[in-house]
């Protein structure tokens, strides 16, 4: 059981004003593979990722990251091991320019100036957003915002990635870059949990496809 990176054990969760989203829900995710979650709108995909990250706490059950319960782990510590992409890119865009967005948090926490600027430049080039590096993020299109948020998650070195709908409103070139990047990271032992509605994309990168429906899961054989 050593290669389980994340496991949820009989988790129940409901929002304060709302129906039960998960009841007695269990799931394990491997460290070195890319798992995909497919499911209708409102089936609880985002809620699941927030539970794993410790942004929400389950009413019952426990969630383990690398065998350790995620209760009491600070968000800061969680962010060190898992990179999280919000479904709404606006939530994680802070800078007043695309370039600043990639470097602001490093400039606050690290002193290694050279290094993170190099990395930011590399990501700008890789994702094809060099030409907009001075633009104010509000004016970006939805797809550009998404790519920018993905790039800022990639700025940090983490052990695992959780991406909530990274492919929504991406063009095919950007999607291609994302596929390559995720497969590359997987080669280096960094797995991911990716939520998407794009079945072809899932087939290309996923080792496991999970269908989520009414708080229950069904694995699809690949």
């Amino acid at each position: 059981m050593d290669d389980k990176f994340i496991s949820l054990e009989s988790v129940s969760f409901s929002y304060k004003k709302g129906k039960m989203v998960f009841k007695d829900f269990s799931l394990s995710l491997d460290r070195n593979s890319i798992s995909i979650i497919l499911g209708e709108n409102g089936s609880g995909k985002t809620t699941l990722t927030k539970l794993i990250m410790g942004i929400l706490s389950p009413q019952k059950g426990e969630i383990f990251i690398e065998g350790k319960s995620n209760q009491g782990v600070s968000l800061g510590e969680m962010g060190k091991s898992i990179g999280y992409l919000f479904q709404n890119p606006d939530h994680q865009i802070f800078g007043s320019s695309v370039m600043e967005q990639l470097t602001w948090s490093s400039s606050l926490v690290s002193n290694d100036n050279e290094n993170y600027h190099e990395k930011a430049k590399y990501l700008l080039k890789e994702f094809g957003i060099e030409n907009i590096k001075d633009t104010y993020p509000f004016y970006l299109s939805m797809g550009e915002k998404r790519i920018l948020a993905i790039a800022s998650v990639m700025m940090r070195d983490v052990k695992y990635l959780i991406f909530d709908e990274p492919t929504s409103s991406l063009d095919s070139n950007r999607e291609e870059v994302l596929v390559n990047m995720l497969l590359n990271l997987k080669q280096r032992g960094i797995g991911a949990l990716v939520i998407t509605h794009d079945y072809d994309f899932s087939k290309r990168i996923g080792q496991r496809i999970i269908h989520l429906e009414d708080g229950r899961i069904e694995d699809e054989l690949i």
Partner: protein, 243 residues
């Protein structure tokens, strides 16, 4: 027990106006307490929850209690209760002033939260029928819709910030200020830009194309409104007279 649930929002506005005025005018702790108890009762009868209101306001309540304590300590008139040497720490008049401040503001807060038991739509219509210009009412309406969104956006941003390793407790003062800048600037600028976009979309839909807006929904005063307004008038006038 929701006797006043169908109360016209205009009656509630009237009540809030009268009671808040009385709360400012009255000095006696007894009368202020009576106003507070009655306001709680009215809130309850309108379908609101007194305890829920207190719970939501708990942070402000701490602040109010803090201010009341400071005010008690810094008032030096009156008979001393606690003294250290020749310094008067607490006097009876200071305690009186502190309590007065606390109850007075509670009356205003509790009575205003009676307004929140009406839906936004009803409140808007009420203000319109009170001949408040539509532009102003519309502004209030938008603010009411935007604030929860803004709060949600802000909460999510704080979470995202913590996830990206910026811990407010661990960084120094100068960096903390920078972190606040990153938190507040995008939320502020985005809402300014959003309102600009909204102004354009309102223009496109012909906002204010006609001089007067008509409405399918009209509020009517019922018997219960009349009874409510008259009894609150009698109540307040009574308090004024026996004061």
């Amino acid at each position: 027990m929701n006797l006043f649930r169908r109360l016209d929002p205009r009656s509630k506005i009237f009540y809030v106006g009268v009671v808040s005025t009385a709360a400012v005018v009255f000095d006696s702790l007894v009368y202020l307490s009576i106003l507070l108890v009655v306001s709680f009762a009215v809130l309850y009868l309108c379908g609101g929850s007194g305890i829920g209101t207190l719970y939501r306001l708990r942070k402000i309540l701490y602040l109010l209690v803090g201010i009341a304590i400071v005010q008690s300590i810094f008032t030096s008139e009156g008979t001393p209760i606690i003294t250290i040497g020749s310094i008067r720490i607490l006097t009876d008049y200071g305690v009186f002033r502190g309590l007065q401040f606390l109850i007075r503001l509670s009356v205003i807060i509790v009575s205003s939260s009676i307004l929140l038991t009406s839906t936004n739509r009803d409140l808007t219509q009420g203000l319109l029928q009170l001949k408040i210009p539509y532009e102003i009412v519309f502004m209030l309406l938008i603010a009411g819709k935007f604030l929860p969104l803004l709060r949600d956006e802000f909460n999510n941003k704080v979470i995202a910030m913590e996830l990206s390793g910026v811990d407010f407790k661990k960084i120094g003062f100068k960096k903390k200020l920078t972190a606040y800048k990153y938190l507040l600037l995008p939320v502020t600028v985005n809402s300014l830009l959003k309102s600009k976009e909204m102004a354009i979309s309102m223009e496109v839909r012909g906002f204010r194309a006609m001089d007067r807006r008509s409405s399918y929904r009209e509020l009517k005063f019922e018997k219960i409104d009349l009874a409510f307004i008259i009894s609150s008038m009698i109540f307040i006038t009574g308090l004024f007279i026996i004061r």
